[in-house]
Structure formats: structure tokens, C-alpha cells
Symmetry: C2
Subunit: 214 residues, 2 copies
């Protein structure tokens, strides 16, 4: 049972999200430029847009790997939505419409309690208010032997890296200069934390790097 | 006539040199890990080691590009050597032995004056004490219409990027996590400075990214 990060974009200058996330900019301003390799894949079209077709090359194969053998997900609250502070009501149900791409329990890190939210297709959002270790314990229990994927965003991945709780990570580096945003590795000595990269694979639009904990 | 950076290594976590450069660690501790793609190339073996043989694939082709049409180089002082402060004498003549790989005038940025140093094979080191713009003006004059290459290190490249004086840059990203070192883009909003990346090429051991000024 592994804890994995997948399909995580990074610009050449080290950012994995833009600034000023809002309803129009789920990945922050210009953040979508790091994911241009993902959007044309069959995987993205099928799981997120519920559409047929799409590219089936290396980038798609890398995206497909990220959905294999998953039993639960963990998301930071900002990856769940643009709402900040206490939930004003229960109307926000994620970026993904009626049928989110998860199809398993999803644990959302937040400081503000909320009732579980059941969506079409097997996705149930659970809101966890007692920290990343609790969320991981709950996710592992729910995953029933399958892997747990840390979906993001940047702050969530950094917290799990710092706690040495991630086993492997797939980063897709795009030829994009973002200039500002959320830097994935800034002030995080990933080497001292035991992480090493030993593999890269060239895709059609991005280069896929694999990072593993020693 | 262009001002170019080439064959510049970067780790996946954004470092282009390790810490604690000294005689045994010209690229800082673990810095050589980012250049493992370069050492086996025919270009490196021929120009730096004066040896026959070597690999002739994509990585080598990228390294060869970096030596085409050059009329002058600019190096930061730490790229010239490990000596700090005033020159104790004239015994340090660079990392490269009697015949350095440049074969054209090389302008070394330093705060400490020193007489020009002529080496075998056409390399002359000139020591420039009045700043990066002066060094570039001198290098352009010496290059006689050919391009000027900014050799490094990190601080020198960052200064020229910040001054928007670099036209194009070739970065070779390796699947290596350095953890600490000199970060190439930290606190440098290269996008606002007008730089964009629009191309990447997969080599045998590194991915080659090209960055150009708009």
C-alpha cells in the first residue's frame, strides 16, 4: 500500500500553481499552462470531462498510471474549491460537477467541519479537521489495501513530503516559465528528507520525472 | 550577435550548483550529479579532457550547439576558480589545465584586478572589475560579430537575467534531487523579465529546455 502523488505539474522555474486561485482559475493565474500536456489526453477527457476520444501517447499513459489501484484520495481544501474560511453553506460540491473523477472516498483537509458529501459514481468527500496524519490514517483504512493518492495542491504535497509520508511522486515538468506562484520545493530539503529522483520519461508535451523515498 | 547560456545543469528541485565549492568540488558538493549527462559526451571529452571517443547522441548534440559561433565568454569568478578575496599570487590559472576549452577571450567577473592571462590554444582570461555591463561590452567587442556565452555560475547567470541581457538559455534538467545549493530561479520573476520557454528535447540522460527573451 503506497502513498502516491501523480500527474503533478511543475513549471521550469519550479511552480506548481499560479497565484490568486479563484473560481475562474482553479490552478491559480496561468496555472493551467503547466497542465496543457494533460488536457488533450484520453485519461483527462474521459475521467474529468466524460468525453470520448483524446490522445493515447506517453503523456496519456503517464496520466493513466496515476489512476491505477487507488483506494482513496486526499485533497487540500483549496484543491476542493475556492471557498475560504467557514463553509457559508453546503452548496460548493467541488470543481468537478455531479460525478467527480475519484469514484472512491476522498478526504479533504480543512479547518472547518462539514458533513460528508456523497456524489454520483462512488465519490464521497469526507472533511477532516484534525490534520494530515489523521487524514492519511482514515484514507488508508478506507482504501482497503489499495493505494492512497495525495491529489494536491502544493501546500498539501509539501506537508506530506516534510512528514516523509509520500512514497512516490510523479512530476510533469513543462517548458513554461511562470515567474510567480506556489513553488513546490522551495525551502524543502527533499534530499535530506530521503527523496531521490532516478527516472525521467519524455512525453509529447511534458517530461515526466519520478521521485521516490529511499 | 546573441548573448547565450548553454549546457547549464539544473536539478529537479531547482539547483544549478551545490554548496561549499572548493578545489575538490568545482560545482559544489554533489553539483557534478547535475552534469552526469555531459561527462560522457564526445564534446566534453574532446574540449575539456582532450580525449577521443564519447557518446554522440542527443545530449552530445545539445552540448555541441553550445560551442557553435562563439566569439567570447563571460565567467563569474567562482567558475574560474575556488580562490576568494584578493589574488594571493598568479598561480591559479583556472580549472582546465594548460589548454582551456574556450579558445577565445574570456572575461572573468571579479572585484580584484589581475593582469590578463594567456593560455594555450587561444584562450586569454581578462579580469573585469567594473561590473557585468562592462564585461558584456568588452566581450561583445572581442567577439567580432560572433556570440557571447555566459558560462556561469549561478550568480552570474542570475545577474545577467535580471538585467535582461541574456537572449537565450539552454537548461539541462536531470532527475536529481539536490536538496540544497544555489537555486537558479529563486526570487527571480523570469516571466516578468520577459523570458519564456517554448521547447524541450529529451536527451539520453537529461531533458533540454530552451528559454528565450521575448
Amino acid at each position: 500500500m503506497k502513498v502516491r502523488v501523480h500527474t503533478f505539474g511543475m513549471s521550469l522555474d519550479g511552480f506548481s500553481a499560479g497565484t490568486n486561485q479563484d473560481l475562474q482559475h482553479p490552478l491559480g493565474v496561468r496555472g493551467e499552462e503547466m497542465m496543457q500536456w494533460f488536457f488533450p489526453t484520453r485519461m483527462f477527457r474521459k475521467t474529468v470531462l466524460h468525453l470520448e476520444g483524446g490522445e493515447t501517447g506517453v503523456d496519456n499513459a503517464m496520466a493513466e498510471r496515476g489512476f491505477e489501484n487507488l483506494g482513496a484520495w486526499i485533497l487540500g481544501r483549496n484543491m476542493f474549491g475556492p471557498v475560504r474560511g467557514p463553509w457559508p453553506d453546503e452548496s460548493w460540491k467541488g470543481w468537478w460537477g455531479e460525478e467527480p473523477p475519484y469514484h472512491v472516498p476522498v478526504f479533504v483537509l480543512t479547518h472547518h467541519a462539514r458533513k460528508p458529501l456523497e456524489m454520483k459514481g462512488g465519490t464521497v468527500f469526507h472533511f477532516v479537521t484534525d490534520g494530515i496524519e489523521s487524514a492519511l490514517a482514515q484514507a488508508k483504512a478506507a482504501a482497503k489495501g489499495r493505494d492512497v493518492r495525495i491529489g494536491g495542491g502544493v501546500s498539501t504535497v509539501r506537508q506530506y513530503l516534510e512528514a516523509r509520508l509520500i512514497d512516490e511522486m510523479h512530476l510533469a515538468v513543462s517548458p513554461v516559465m511562470l515567474g510567480t506562484g506556489e513553488a513546490l520545493f522551495r525551502d524543502l530539503d527533499v534530499s535530506a528528507l530521503g527523496y531521490a529522483s532516478d527516472e525521467s520519461v519524455a512525453g509529447e508535451r511534458a517530461t515526466h520525472f519520478f521521485v521516490r523515498r529511499r
